[in-house]
Amino acid sequence: MQEPTFLILTALADGPRHGYGIITDVTEISEGQVRLRAGTLYAALDRLHGEGLIETDREEIVDGRARRYYRLTAAGAARLTAEAERLRRNTDVAFTRLRAPRSALIQGTP
């Protein structure tokens, strides 16, 4: 799973959001590292919708424009859980190894 996809699903994990809401939330989650643009976001939403990972929650009219809210489906939540667990295993290994004494690392090198 690519990072933008992971972040979009994460943005929807605690409740429905509309397009711009997802963009601002993803910026917040990634501490400004990932700034989604409309083209990228809607291509991803289109794909996720096709895969049944997200669905439309409701529509509102704001300033004369349709504002559509998206939410995770059960399949989407399961996929995000699996991906988050995979990432956690990887980061756990990284932290464990980083905590090992540095000297062993240096001496281990021939």
């Binding site: 509309h18 397009g19 711009y20 963009i23 643009r37 409309a38 083209g39 990228t40 976001l41 809607y42 291509a43 289109d46 794909r47 919708h49 096709g50 895969e51 049944g52 704001v62 300033d63 424009r65 349709a66 504002r67 559509r68």
Partner: protein, 307 residues
């Protein structure tokens, strides 16, 4: 002067129409919310992102998860139209012979060749009619597949086997790309490129060909246009250049087909499958012209839609 919103709206044309119908206003809201208040034109990064996003959505709908139902239905339709297309080609072959015999040479030799062609085309067309009929009658799907495979094997024997000269049908001219005297590889290539094999594959894969709701009038006019085109393109034209004639006629045939089918996602996919079949049934030149004509037809239809 075009407003920022107008610029964005133009960029959104990169997205498929149905996607725009649902998401255009929503995407505009996001784009406008993201714009700087004094901004007059979209930034370069936004332009690239929107174009890339549009192409991604199109690609996703062409082959991704959302396209699966279209593909299923296209295979259903092609399982019916494929056999009908081959009947069209056989009918045109007979009609060409009749027209040729009546207009240019009326001699006993030509007449016997005509009867021979008629018999051959009947033998080749009847199985396709049966396959289409069985596939259309909901209960006969398995029977249709079984029959289609039987015909595929029989066809290879009729056309390619060394004994075919003494078989019920003499060796057919111009049906096979080459005759099978050589080895297993050639035989395999021949089997894989023979139209009945592809009909059999289509009928086997089609989930429910009976659900292909085809309007008989449209199908009949499509077949009539096909016969007329093929007959006309087989005649010798004293004035017009052969290739130009071929292109014009193929174009006329495909415009009739294009008008009926490729308006929808299912129609476009059906056209693609049938085009591949045409590649095997006809010759490479015909298929190439068909492709050019299809592209041209798509451009013409799009231009007409805009106007």
């Amino acid at each position: 002067m075009t407003s920022l919103e107008g610029h964005y709206r133009r960029l959104l044309r990169w997205y498929p129409r149905h996607h725009r119908a649902v998401h255009e206003e929503e995407m505009l809201a996001v784009l406008m919310a993201d714009a700087v208040p004094s901004q007059r034109r979209p930034g370069m990064a936004d332009v690239v992102d929107l174009v890339r996003g549009g192409l991604r959505v199109r690609w996703n709908h062409a082959v991704g998860a959302p396209s699966a139902p279209h593909w299923r239905q296209a295979v259903n339709v092609a399982a019916i139209l494929g056999p009908l297309m081959l009947i069209t080609i056989e009918t045109a072959r007979v009609a060409s012979g009749v027209v040729y015999a009546m207009t240019w040479r009326w001699d006993p030799m030509g007449l016997s060749a005509l009867w021979w062609n008629l018999g051959r085309s009947l033998v080749f067309a009847i199985p396709y009619a049966l396959i289409a009929a069985l596939a259309l009658s909901g209960m006969g799907r398995k029977a249709a597949a079984g029959f289609a495979w039987t015909w595929a094997v029989l066809y290879v024997w009729l056309v390619a086997s060394p004994e075919s000269d003494v078989g019920p049908v003499p060796r057919a001219p111009r049906v096979a790309p080459f005759y099978i005297d050589a080895g297993a590889v050639e035989l395999l290539v021949f089997v894989l490129t023979s139209p009945p094999t592809w009909i059999a594959i289509l009928v086997t894969l089609a989930p429910s060909p009976a659900s292909a709701r085809l309007r008989p009038a449209v199908v009949a006019s499509w077949m009539a246009a096909g016969v007329a085109t093929l007959v006309l393109s087989n005649l010798d034209w004293p004035v017009v250049d052969d290739l130009a004639m071929h292109i014009i006629l193929t174009l006329a045939f495909l415009l009739a087909a294009a008008g009926a089918a490729p308006r929808s996602g299912t129609g476009r996919r059906t056209a693609l499958i049938l085009f591949a079949l045409l590649l095997f049934a006809g010759n490479l030149m015909q298929a190439l012209m068909a492709l050019i004509a299809m592209l041209f037809a798509a451009v013409v239809i799009r231009a007409a839609g805009r106007a």
